[in-house]
Amino acid sequence: MAVEQPARDDLKKVARARLARGSKDAVGGVRARYVATPSSTEEVAEVLRVAAQHDLAVVARGAGTTLDWGAPPTRADLIVDTTAMSGVVDHAAGDLVVVVRAGTPVGELQDAVAAAGQRLALDVPDADATVGGTLAVSPSGPRRLLYGTARDLLIGITFVRADGVVAKAGGRVVKNVAGYDFGKLLTGSFGTLGVITEATFRLHPLPAARRVVTVSCPDAATAGRAALAVLGSQVVAAAVELDQGGDGRVQVAVLLEGVAAGVVDRTRTVLDLLGQGASDDDALPDGFGRLPFEAGGTGLKVTTALTGVGPVLAACHRLAGEHGVPVTARGSAAGVLHVGLAADAQPEAVAAAVQALRLATAPFEGTVTVLTAPQGVRALVDLWGPVPGLELMRRLKDEMDPDHRLSPGRFVGGI
């Protein structure tokens, strides 16, 4: 007790802070000792300074929706809870720019900007996730096909370094090449480079109309070809999603957004392209944009060049037969698929399946990342696969967090 007190006391001097509550305050199964809930960037800075003083390993937590992604941290002494740093700082609707605090749920942000007929064109799997958490893991959703992911929409960022220094990069304007683009480095960094406190995004106008054209294809190869046909057309789809069922059939869904007259016309074009059996609707299909991950199961992110989508989906389907592991696979024709394996699957089978997928994506320059997995699987699998440039990444980490106290061990190469 006595040894913990100085840390907790020092934390409480600078922000709301308390002792951790067992498994409720754990990251990937690693239980923290303290939880601090700062309400501003300055407070985060103070908290991190205290953490540095006491050599505490720090993990930031928003809504915790992806806290189990990545490897469990090698140590997690302090959880920095960002949920008290919530709310839009400034929505410059005329400039299509919004500045928002990192602890804001994405859903709330969307509601706020929707009031001006705008949106952040970023699909997240769970609208409760915070902006900070979303940036940290950089999820891929259906609309990435047209709008890219968080890295393409982020134009400014404020974060706190491991040593408690506040830094910012980018700004409030979309066109900006002054200085290095730290926003890109922080995006998808799993909290290992700093604690994000504020982000500035570029927004897009909400479309006036939308239509979804779907078709059920007998197999992955057909679906892959259909998807490529849509990508190679001039309809400018906002999303082309593929959803594979256990029977190997794949549903292709094409999302068209824009001006009403335009959407009608483009819908016709896509119906023609997809041929017999294609139909259109206003509503998004079930599961659109949701990850096919089972609680406690294994979740993979599989990437591939465009031409690999069909073949990789086919490989996913074969996993059931070849490795006794049924999978659900769903994702974007842009070349990012999410694959879910059941919680009760044999870890050896899962490991073999991951290996098989890595082989299947290789000819298409793709990768397989194990985003989340039960302990038995983690023990057997390389979560990240080969990481080109790892040496440089390690050097960057060493520069920014020499004591490796920010989310240590959660990221690639043990970073």
Partner: protein, 488 residues
């Protein structure tokens, strides 16, 4: 650093690259003394023209061994002095590495050597119905390697993004002399977004030796209009109305009267007489979509007092509308002996106010300012016109130029939207970012270039020394002793 060092280095590189690839002749070296920013001229000690990645790596390794700085150069058209040589250093010219390695419509990717000209990518992809979207005004000559270094934009980046949104793979010779391949044809490589960090790093993190880019499907329809307004106020109003209506044009460009005058003199684009400002607005995409939005755009122009609207009837006319805008920079050479191009960014809504302040600055100083800009994203290119031969005008012009940048920062903008910081704007960077911000950025630089030899003196105003690097400095560095630098 002695001339003997350079002589030995030249010999070494001749052996590795072949005699023709190494330039030591003084008159030849002089031709490389500047890039597109002719105000700064420095003759390099040595110029090399490698032809392969392995050769580039050889050059970097040789420079490290000799502790000689190096600067990479593509076509030498940059506007911030990013390719300004180092007097004691090697200029690595990538113009010989200009193969279009692959164009693949199926994966929508092109793979290019760094010396490939931007427009060449589009030309190579055109037959397949694709093009490369980032289109800087110098695209007929600027190199892909340069585009990567500067994160180049162009008129169409409002809708389509910049180089960083289109690069999916990079091969880089990193400042420790190793070759690293990042990404490729597939999206989202694992780990830190090193590609994102590298694009726009202005040659300070290494040398690009191959780049993989996304190709964009050519739009079904392109509609371009040219609208003439009594002044920039009305034109700005039209821009706000268009964007406010939820239209995302492919491009929306503005030129003021003085810029129009220059463009007219240069390329005879035939812009409407007496225009205080013209807008070039381009919409592209699916036909029905474009038609509907185009009518809206026309209406907004009318409502904001456009006195003449021309709609391009064919590709030739569209090219003519753009010709004036794209030649504007070089064209001002016809109406003024000297000029400074600025590259500030402001939030679009601040446009009218900022333009008024620029006009006031111009009036107050007697130095004319022609304005050309990407109205859609608030990226201004004020062209500050002056005559070197007239006493004091150069200083006035520089003062106006600096004040314009201050204006941009004041309004929450940026000191550079697309030209980069280079040597030209390094001294303004501290006005945009705090010391802590710049410190943090330099951590990246140290991670990549602990030797400090990759394009030193660019981007950051004061060099910071990186931490303990084996074999580097024992004891205080001369710069540190002189109080000009710190270790962190």
């Amino acid at each position: 650093m002695t001339s003997g060092t350079i002589a030995r280095l030249a010999q070494q590189l001749r052996a590795a690259l072949g005699g023709e690839a190494v330039v030591t002749d003084r008159t030849r070296l002089l031709t490389y003394e500047c890039d597109g920013l002719a105000q700064y001229k420095v003759t390099p000690a040595l110029v090399v023209l490698p032809r392969t990645t392995a050769q580039v790596a050889d050059v970097v390794r040789a420079c490290i061994a000799a502790q000689v700085p190096y600067v990479a150069r593509g076509s030498g058209t940059g506007l911030s002095g990013g390719a300004l040589p180092h007097a004691d250093g090697v200029l690595v010219v990538l113009s010989q590495m200009r193969a279009v390695v692959d164009v693949d419509p199926a994966t929508q990717r092109a793979v290019l050597e760094p010396g490939v000209v931007n427009l060449q990518v589009t030309r190579s992809a055109a037959a397949y119905g694709y093009y490369y979207a980032p289109d800087p005004s110098s695209q007929q000559i600027c190199s892909m390697g340069g585009n990567v270094a500067e994160n180049s934009g162009g008129a169409h980046c409002l809708k389509y993004g910049f180089t960083t949104n289109h690069v999916t793979g990079l091969e880089v010779v990193v400042p420790d002399g190793t070759v690293v391949r990042l990404g490729g044809r597939a999206p989202d490589p694992p780990g830190y977004d090193l590609i994102g960090a590298f694009v726009g790093s202005e040659g300070t993190l290494g040398i690009t030796t191959e780049v993989t880019v996304r190709l964009t499907r050519a739009p079904e329809t392109v509609r371009t209009l040219l609208a003439a307004f009594p002044s920039t106020d009305e034109a700005g109003g039209a821009v706000s109305a268009i964007i406010g209506a939820g239209v995302v044009p492919a491009a929306i460009e503005m030129m003021d009267a003085l810029a129009i005058e220059a463009a007219e003199a240069a390329v005879h684009c035939g812009y409407p007489d007496g225009a205080g400002a013209v807008l070039v607005v381009e919409l592209d995409g699916p036909r029905a979509e474009v038609e509907a939005q185009f009518t809206e755009v026309e209406r907004h122009c009318h409502e904001n007092r456009a006195f003449e609207i021309r709609i391009a009837r064919d590709e030739a006319e569209r090219a003519l509308f753009w010709k004036g805008r794209k030649s504007a920079f070089a064209a001002v050479g016809r109406i003024s002996p000297d000029y400074i191009v600025q590259d500030g960014v402001i939030p679009r809504t601040a446009l009218p106010e900022v333009l008024r302040r620029i006009a006031a600055l111009s009036d107050g100083s007697g130095v004319r300012v022609a304005n050309v800009f990407h109205a859609g994203d608030g990226n201004l290119h004020p062209l500050v016109l002056f005559d070197d031969a007239v006493a004091g005008q150069t200083e006035e012009a520089e003062q106006v130029s600096a004040s314009i940048l201050d204006l941009c920062i004041e309004h929450g903008g940026s000191i550079t939207g697309e030209h980069g910081v280079g040597i030209d704007k390094a001294r303004y960077l501290p006005r945009m970012y705090t010391e802590d911000d710049l410190d943090t950025m330099q951590m990246l630089r140290c991670a990549f270039d602990p030797h400090g030899l990759a394009n030193p003196g660019k981007v950051f105003p004061t060099p910071r020394l990186c931490g303990e690097v084996p074999g580097r400095h024992k004891g205080p560095h001369p710069l540190q002793q002189a109080g000009l630098a710190e270790v962190f």
